[in-house]
């Protein structure tokens, strides 16, 4: 029902956040995706996460590539600048935008075709560089806009209505671990309870945060033989932990039994609280995480939760030693132009 504009009126008693915004202030245009699309649930989760974090919508830049997932930035945070770029190339555009202004929050939205096929290179390199961003891959295993071709994340043997996928799948989460991402998580669009806190934690994290969100394609890949269908993911979802983000202003009140909860302080003072669901899983051990993921994948499980976190990570600006005085896009002649006298001296060196 994409042609009906959603009225802006709302109930008087609707919740407001610290900025006085309601969640409606974080919405965007009406989605043009299919009814029941997992991607819309992710947009809703993003809206809720930003609302709960009291983020000023205009301090967010949302960037995407091309595909169904890449359309979604139009459907949340209508007061944020958005950029629907080139297929598979969101990471480079986001990197450039981030270089220009380190002070905004960068949401990169991509899909499995965009990230794992045409854009695998850029996916890899932006994580290597530690670009400070939240990279969300809305992963449904198929190309939706071109009507159902398999993507590179489709499991071997997975079936669509007309074909069987015989290629090995690319696991973006395992790749992200190898490539040095400092926040790695996997979730499911059908599990908002898990997804919203993960998004909040990813936003609070400084560094490259990647969320691989299994997001079933209702139209082309929700059949019983697909490993990216709602039913399949629900049946095989194994969460290693439950995450909660406690913002700096909140008081930590609840007591937990020792060993069941870990609290990790972030750069911005917030705390990620991790309730362990698998007692042996250590989200600070990159190597163990890779091996655990491979093992559970072999057993047919889809491991979700916060899989890896390095709260001390350095971001690209730290590595480049970029000035903290002001974002690069705010520097003027005074800081940038060395002037004619200096040029005279330079000329003299070339004589």
């Amino acid at each position: 029902m994409t042609y009906i504009a959603k009225p802006k009126l709302h109930h008087k008693a609707i919740a407001v956040n610290a900025l006085g915004f309601t969640h409606r202030d974080y919405e965007g245009r009406i989605s043009t995706l299919c009814a029941g699309c997992g991607h819309d649930s992710i947009s809703a989760a993003l809206i809720q996460a930003c609302f709960e974090l009291s983020i000023e919508p205009h301090r967010v830049a949302k960037l995407s590539g091309i595909g169904c997932s890449s359309k979604t930035p139009d459907y949340f945070l209508g007061q944020s600048h958005g950029f629907n770029s080139v297929h598979g190339r969101m990471p480079s555009v986001l990197t450039g935008a981030n270089l220009a202004n380190r002070d905004l929050i960068y949401l990169g939205v991509s899909g499995d075709g965009d990230s794992a096929s045409i854009g695998l290179g850029q996916f890899a390199h932006c994580l290597r560089r530690g670009v400070n961003m939240v990279y969300i891959c809305e992963n449904n295993g198929v190309y939706g806009l071109t009507k159902g071709q398999f993507s590179a994340t489709a499991d071997k043997g997975s079936r669509s209505k007309t074909a069987v996928n015989s290629d090995s799948p690319i696991d973006l989460v395992s790749m992200a671990l190898v490539l040095g991402a400092s926040f790695v998580a996997r979730s499911f669009s059908g599990d908002k309870k898990q997804l919203v806190p993960l998004l909040k934690a990813a936003i609070a994290h400084r560094g490259s945060a990647i969320l691989d969100v299994i997001s079933p394609c209702i139209q082309f890949n929700n059949n019983p033989q697909s490993t990216k269908s709602y039913d399949y993911v629900r049946a095989h979802d194994e969460a290693v932990n439950a995450v909660d983000l406690i913002e700096p202003r909140e008081e930590i009140t609840v007591d937990y039994a020792p060993g069941t909860v870990e609290e990790v302080r972030q750069h911005d003072g917030s705390v990620i609280r991790l309730a362990k669901l698998h007692p042996d899983y250590d989200p600070h051990d990159r190597v163990a995480a890779i091996s655990y993921l491979q093992e559970r994948h072999r057993a047919g499980e889809i491991v979700t939760g916060l899989l890896y976190l390095d709260p001390e990570a350095k971001d690209l600006h730290d590595n480049l030693g970029t000035t903290a005085k002001a974002p690069l896009n705010q520097l003027g002649e005074k800081d940038l132009c060395p002037g004619s006298k200096t040029l005279e001296k330079i000329n003299a060196r070339y004589r």
Partner: protein
């Protein structure tokens, strides 16, 4: 055969082996002559190789100040046995060959009409006590520089001064290198006195000019032009642009208080990512650029279309090389003109600037950032390997301190707060350039969605035919605005009225200057026009219409600029005569003169019959 005799007017070519350390000695040679007030034009001719393959360095000494390649070699410093025969054959009759005579060479390997000047370089280098073999290899180059300084009568004070500069602060090296200079010099003075009649004499023809490479100058231009983001991928011959930007930023752009950088340089994973970053940064309000060459231009096509359509500032410095495909990566051409003019799928047109030398490379690189932000579109600075990777004698770089960056039409928080209407693609001023906002500007106003897909004046997605036509027509009008902002063409009228004209651009300039004077001396008059930008100013078409025949001098096979002139200005193809040079070496005045004189003679003969 009478040995060649010339003062301040000859060509010396050094035949070396790549990686033998000859480059700095050869550059010192050129600088010695410059310091004596005599103009030189130097060119590296090098292979796509790091060590072992032949490499040449050619120095044209020209008291008259001609800076193009002359063609021909008067003295060969033959240091590479691999290319001996070819090098020997290249020397003009009556010319000279300088070689390492440590091992005797059979007479059959020399030419009778060439004066052989043997210097036992290896032997002499072995007398330098306390040096390692690798050092002696390097010092051999300095020894031949010493020998040449005697043969050509260099001012010893100049040589000593330059060595002092080169190794400033390293007294041991200064002493060692001066010792090597003396070895070569004294050997030549004792054994070869009076044998060489090529001489350099002090003159006053250099003035305040500088000797700089175009890539170096362009990188510095980007610093002065306010670039803060550089994303690039290594590719010959453009790599040294990014290296220059980095070098000058480290010297000039580190915040004195915090020690932090007022710039960000990222070596991307490929050219696609490089241009993506440039566009992302440009979208977000930073002045950003990339430097690349033909293959990079090919890879960036899709992004050029995005930046054109979504109207995002970007600067691309294209150091052209021989194409297509890998082509001749270490040879020069002007062969990306058409692929840049209409880069990307769909209907596009892009702004190109054509600097003629390093001086203009600096100027246009800096100006490109103003143009990119004013026009909100990619700006291409079209250089080539000849300008980029060779040191050229050119006017000193100039900056006017009253100059302010033109950041273009950016709608500020204050304007939005005051209720100014914002439509991202709305032509409010009639110049077809809309206002843009930068992300984060205002809590409730000014946000918009950028996309490569068709959109209306308010940046809303639309596949409505009329909306699409409105936007694409406005982009055409914006190109008309560009016409008024880009560097104007330079007209040089002939000394006598003529129906002949010549159009040229970029690095052909130095050869053209010389060719025109030679032709004039022979009574052949042509008006010339140096094109400095695309879109073409109206004067360009007027110039063509004012002449019966117009030569278009280009360094490519397909007469790309000429085609662009015909297409964009609606000119009759029959007015043009293509003058094309595309073997990978820089075009010479001799070549131009020969082609033009030949054509003019044919036409005159036809007319007489």
């Amino acid at each position: 055969m009478q040995p060649l005799a010339a003062t301040n007017d000859f060509v010396v070519k050094f035949a070396n082996i790549n990686g033998s350390g000859s480059a700095s000695a050869n550059e010192l040679f050129a600088r010695c002559i410059l310091r004596m007030g005599v103009p030189v034009a130097s060119r590296n001719i090098f292979p796509s190789n790091i060590q072992g393959l032949p490499t040449w360095y050619e120095v044209r000494v020209s008291g008259e100040g001609w800076l193009g390649r002359r063609g021909g070699v008067d003295m060969m410093v033959a240091m590479n046995p691999q290319t001996w025969d070819k090098d020997m054959a290249e020397v003009e009759p009556g010319g000279y060959v300088v070689y390492d005579s440590t091992k005797p060479m059979p007479v059959s390997r020399f030419r009778e009409d060439v004066t052989v000047l043997g210097v036992p370089l290896t032997l002499l280098s072995n007398t330098l006590e306390g040096t390692l073999p690798r050092e002696r290899q390097l010092l051999k180059n300095i020894i031949y520089l010493g020998a040449l300084s005697s043969l050509l009568d260099f001012d010893p004070a100049v040589v000593e001064g330059l060595i002092g500069n080169q190794f400033k602060g390293k007294d041991k090296l200064i002493a060692l290198n001066m010792k090597a200079i003396k070895l070569g010099h004294d050997y030549a003075a004792e054994h070869l006195a009076g044998k060489c009649q090529l001489k350099v004499e002090n003159a006053d023809m250099v003035g305040d000019r500088i000797f700089i490479g175009g890539n170096d100058a362009a990188g510095l231009g980007a610093v002065y032009g306010g670039a803060t983001v550089c994303a690039w991928y290594p590719i010959t011959p453009s790599t040294s642009v990014a290296e220059s930007f980095s070098k000058h930023c480290k010297a000039l752009r580190v915040d004195p208080e915090s020690g932090q950088n007022n710039f960000a340089i990222v070596q991307a994973e490929d050219e696609i990512a490089a241009i993506g970053m440039v566009i992302g940064a440009g979208w977000n309000g930073a002045r950003s650029f990339t430097a690349t060459s033909g293959p990079g231009i090919s890879l960036m096509q899709e992004f050029f279309g995005l930046a054109y359509s979504a109207e995002i500032p970007a600067v691309i410095i294209d150091i052209q090389r021989g194409g297509p495909s890998t082509g001749m990566p270490t040879r020069t051409q002007q062969s990306d003109i058409l692929s840049v003019a209409y880069a990307s799928h769909g209907d596009t047109k892009h702004v190109m600037l054509f600097p003629e030398d390093p001086h203009e490379s600096f100027e246009f690189a800096a100006q490109a950032f103003d143009l990119a932000e004013r026009l909100q579109t990619p700006i291409f600075v079209m250089m080539d390997l000849d300008i980029g990777m060779n040191d050229w004698l050119c006017k000193p770089l100039h900056w006017d301190d009253s100059r302010k960056y033109d950041r273009g039409k950016i709608m500020t928080r204050e304007m939005l707060e005051a209720g100014t209407e914002f439509g991202r693609y709305l032509d409010v001023d009639g110049d077809a350039v809309p206002f843009r906002t930068l992300p984060g500007v205002h809590p409730t106003k000014g946000a918009y969605f950028t996309r490569g897909s068709s959109h209306d004046a308010y940046a809303r997605y639309s596949e409505e035919g009329s909306v699409y036509i409105d936007i694409t027509q406005r982009l055409l009008r914006k190109f008309e605005t560009a016409k008024t902002l880009v560097p104007a063409p330079v007209l040089r009228p002939a000394k006598a009225p003529t129906r002949w004209g010549a159009i040229y651009f970029g690095s052909s300039s130095v050869a053209m200057d010389e060719a025109m004077e030679t032709l004039e001396e022979h009574g052949l008059h042509l008006d010339t026009l140096r094109v400095r930008a695309f879109p073409f100013a109206d004067e360009v078409a007027e110039f063509v219409r004012a002449h019966d025949q117009v030569f278009v001098v280009e360094q490519n096979r397909d007469a790309q600029l000429q085609k662009l002139l015909i297409t964009e200005c609606g000119l009759e193809p029959s007015r043009f005569v293509s003058l094309l040079h595309y073997d990978g070496t820089p075009i010479t005045a001799r070549y131009i003169t020969g082609m033009i004189a030949g054509r003019m003679a044919t036409i005159r003969k036809d007319a007489a019959e």
